[in-house]
Amino acid sequence: MEEIIVRYERPVAATVTGILGFSPEVDDIGQETFVRFFRAMDRFRGDSRIGTYIIRIAINLSRTELKRRKRFAAWPETDFPDGENAVPRPGRSPEDDGDARSLVRDGLQKLEPKFRAVLVLRLMSGYSTQETAKILRLPQGTVLSRLSRGQAKLREIIEELSCRQNSD
């Protein structure tokens, strides 16, 4: 059990934080992902890889969380201050705020969920396009198309954010 958790913690963390941002719920969703996986293990038919199955659970839970946020007065700030519940941000230092990486992170949160899921799985969690297609149960062509449209849109969003930041 521990071995599986340790092995898949990184892709689950990358996926959930990619979709939801660095918010306090992320840790709970990570836990819930593994709890659901272990409790559903007897129903796991083995027609997909364990990793695919776990990430699918993580994505479904993240989507539910997104819906919950939407229901409760749209999107709150997705970039929460570091606190007791915060997920460690890679290489983050105070001077990172406002830099390119945080712009990309902020931009990602503004991207439509269908594009965001593809970008997160392919570019943040490190899955191939084929694996991403399997996880999201989409044809590979759709994944490629969303990947390309998603990156184009993200680029536009980042430009917009950057302009806004410079004018402030």
């Binding site: 958790i5 913690e9 840790d27 593994f34 409790r39 990602l108 390309s148 680029r155």
Partner: protein, 137 residues
């Protein structure tokens, strides 16, 4: 900028392109400063996304998952005990209720003048005749 070229550019970062597309993209890249800038920005964006991914959850994550599983199991155990007890009580109660109902019906049949036992199964000659004349016989 031509959106199809931009898509082709992104596809080129995912894997090899067809010879014709590769040629088209290379030519466009050599001609367009804007496309070259887009390529650099997209590559930088991909690097930022990859390096911006969280590596782990808060420390002690494994312990919290195991504790969560234990809590879920004990919750399951409590629910199973509750349902087992409930089922047992339900069947006892149902059997007792059926027995009491049977006693009450028997008592009413034996003592009530509204529905005497003889009348309960009574059928008039006319009814029996009509029944026997049904086309199924």
């Amino acid at each position: 900028m031509d959106k199809r070229l931009l898509r082709l550019l992104v596809r080129s970062l995912e894997g090899p392109l067809k010879k014709r597309d590769r040629h088209r993209l290379d030519r466009a890249l050599s001609e367009s400063e804007e496309l070259r800038r887009a390529r650099d920005e997209i590559e930088a964006m991909r690097r930022d996304l990859a390096s911006g991914a969280a590596d782990s959850f808060r420390s002690g994550f494994v312990g919290r998952v195991l504790a969560g599983l234990e809590a879920a199991d004990s919750e399951d155990g409590r629910q199973m005990l509750f349902y087992a007890g409930f089922r047992k009580v339900f069947w006892r109660f149902t059997l007792a209720a059926l027995f009491i109902l049977a006693v009450l019906i028997s008592y009413n049949l034996a003592h009530s003048e509204l529905l005497p036992a003889n009348d309960l199964l009574y059928a008039s000659d006319q009814t029996v005749g009509e029944f026997l004349n049904l086309p199924i016989f």
